[in-house]
Amino acid sequence: MATLAPTTPWTAGAKDDYRVCNVTTLKVDMHTERLIIANAVMAVVTLVLGGLFALLIALTRWQAIHLLDATWFYRLLTLHGIDMLVAWIVFFEMAGLHFGSTALLNARHAAPKLAWFGWILMTIGGLMVNGVVLFDAKSIVMFSAYVPLKAHPLFYLSYILFAVGALIQVITFFINIVVAKREGKVPGSLPLAVFGLMTAAILAVYTLLEGAAAVVPAFFWSLGWMQNYDPGIYRNFFWGFGHPAQQVNLAAMVSIWYMLAQMTVGIRPVNEKFSRLAFILYLFFINLGSAHHLLVDPGLSFAWKAVNTSYAMYLAVLGSMMHAFSIPAAMEIALRAKGFTKGLFGWLRNAPWGEPGFSGMVMSMILFGWVGGVTGVTIGTEQINMLAHNTLRLPGHFHATVVGGTTTAFMAFTYYVIPLIFRKELKLKSWAKWQPYVYGFGSLLVSLGMITSGLQGVSRRNWDITFAGVVPGTVDLTLAIFGIGALIAVTGGIMYVTIVLVSILTGPRVEPTQMLLLTGTHNPLLESTKLTDRDMELPKNQPKGTLVLVFAFLAWFAIYYLTNWWLLGRTWFIR
């Protein structure tokens, strides 16, 4: 791609091959820049594939349209899961890790060659799995590939290549941090965002190792080197990988929330200890979450399921609830300190709603917390899971977390990566202003449509629910909500991809000059450093509005959660 040619010559190994960003005042190592670009490009490529498949399968599940035949539906569903959940998100996170471990520390990339090797493995794995599933009907096994459903050996090999590649790139994150520390680039503690990314990186190592434990035997088994592979054990290992992988996404997304809040509103974390503690709760308690997916499996005791799913007393949930307070609170204080102190929500009215980094972050927080989090904790409750397991409520939940939440946040962040890292002017700015709303609203309808269909018993991963002859007429309505939401969300996705492509493929390379894209020339990032302790502590700057918001959230959470117990109590007795 000619337009991406570096401006500084490639001198591998040179210690000071960097540029200074005049917006953030950060030093950017040219190796880092190229690695971020490579990972971001693959992320967008896989997002385009996954998004195309999303449109086609959504129009199939919308029973009134029922576009594809069964085989193509299951084939593209398999690829949608892989391209979105695995490829798009992980490639984007790799870009984030390179950024966090070098630019945010003013440090160099200490292992670019190793990182490139990882990127190549990931790219081969990601593209290969698409080929295998497209051309080999036996490999239509869904991304979870539950044993004893047997795919082509190359299917498992692609997974292994991708995972090893990811592991290698994650390892360069740690190498960078260690080298930066040793070279004196980090005099005190790591910045909060890097701390959060480090949580993600540690979780990623653990996750990828457990993934290997599930997939490597499956690879041997598909080659006939291993006779039996117990499906229960496979599920345990697979979700030991699959669920913590979502916590990697979570930690990365929350770090991006902190960054976007600082870049667009100029926050200073209210209490570093509080926020860091919340990340540490993720680290220690979230790994127990694989049980989520095994709650109605045979062979496991109540105690095992309940302890594991309760995250040792929901302490990871507590972590998220802490962030849910600390980020809006920090924004409230920063905005109040600018003089928007009227009433409980005057600061909210005066927030930069036209700035995609802000609106995208808010959309992401609302969808993630109010929809994804609440439904997730509810269906992850041992007994309630019986009502929800493998119904559309499941994809309804994770389309709120990973689509409305993570993807919206990543998209919003991209708009700043384009000027700051790609060093291209952001084009189609007015589209960028609306894109978070379009995409967020579409995702909301997708989620709600799926959840309400699932509540009526419609199962997930099912080409034609009318076979069963039991779906009530109201399902037509809820599936229509879902289908319309899908069209809107896909429109938002197309807007995003168009903005990104037009920006990076046209126009000359320009040095960035300002932080905000649409809402002014001031630089909130630098302003944030000027918030004094006094600003933070002034009574009129206290985050009372946020406290009201989080209590409203808790009320909604309680209503949804208790309603589900009530629903459970009305069904057949079972033990």
Binding site: T71, P231, Q262, N271, V296, D297, K305, L554
Partner: protein, 176 residues
């Protein structure tokens, strides 16, 4: 994003403390609900499980069908035996791509020990419109002690992807 001040270990503010306490209490409540329901609730996830080979399970299913068969019924072009076991007995439902075998006929308010297992792939037992969902694995005999509390014809949908005919895998339970 930027490096923190050197000393960031500071006491929490009043609002933070409030929220942290409330959130923590809520988390404890979430945790306690599960054991509470386990001892008091009527709907709990079955845990009784035995390892069993497909052939052994199939033999039990056949013996069960021979013993309690009361008729036949056609479902999606295939004829299935209708089996009416006595209350309190062991009841078998066999999953294989893409059938639930046989059709069961139960009595409302009576207790049954429902055995679920698969002959081949993973399947999903999804009883509709009651909406009870359980995972069915090959090699495992999963025993659910159930009491139907409503009458009518119920459909057993397969809700775990079990290869290309997955959506055609539909069974039936009749409750009188």
């Amino acid at each position: 994003m930027l490096a923190p001040e050197r000393i960031w270990w500071k006491p929490l503010g009043r609002l933070e403390k409030t929220w942290l306490t409330v959130a923590f209490v809520w988390c404890i409540f979430l945790t306690l609900m599960m054991p509470l329901w386990y001892f008091m609730g009527k709907q709990n996830v079955p845990t009784e499980t035995y390892k069993i080979s497909g052939a052994d399970f199939s033999a039990k299913v056949n013996a069960f069908v021979d013993q309690y068969k009361v008729g036949e019924e056609t479902l999606n072009g295939v004829t299935f035996p209708v089996v009416a076991p006595p209350a309190g007995s062991d009841v078998y439902l066999r999953a294989s791509a893409w059938q639930w075998y046989p059709i069961l006929q139960l009595e409302v308010g009576k207790t049954y020990r429902l055995h679920l297992s698969s002959m081949d792939l993973q399947h999903g037992f999804s009883l509709q419109p009651v909406n009870i969902n359980l995972q069915v694995l090959p090699g495992y005999d999963y025993v659910a002690t159930i009491v139907p509390t409503s009458t009518g014809d119920f459909t057993v949908v397969c809700n775990e992807f079990c290869s290309l005919g997955h959506h055609t895998m539909v069974g039936k339970i009749i409750v009188k």
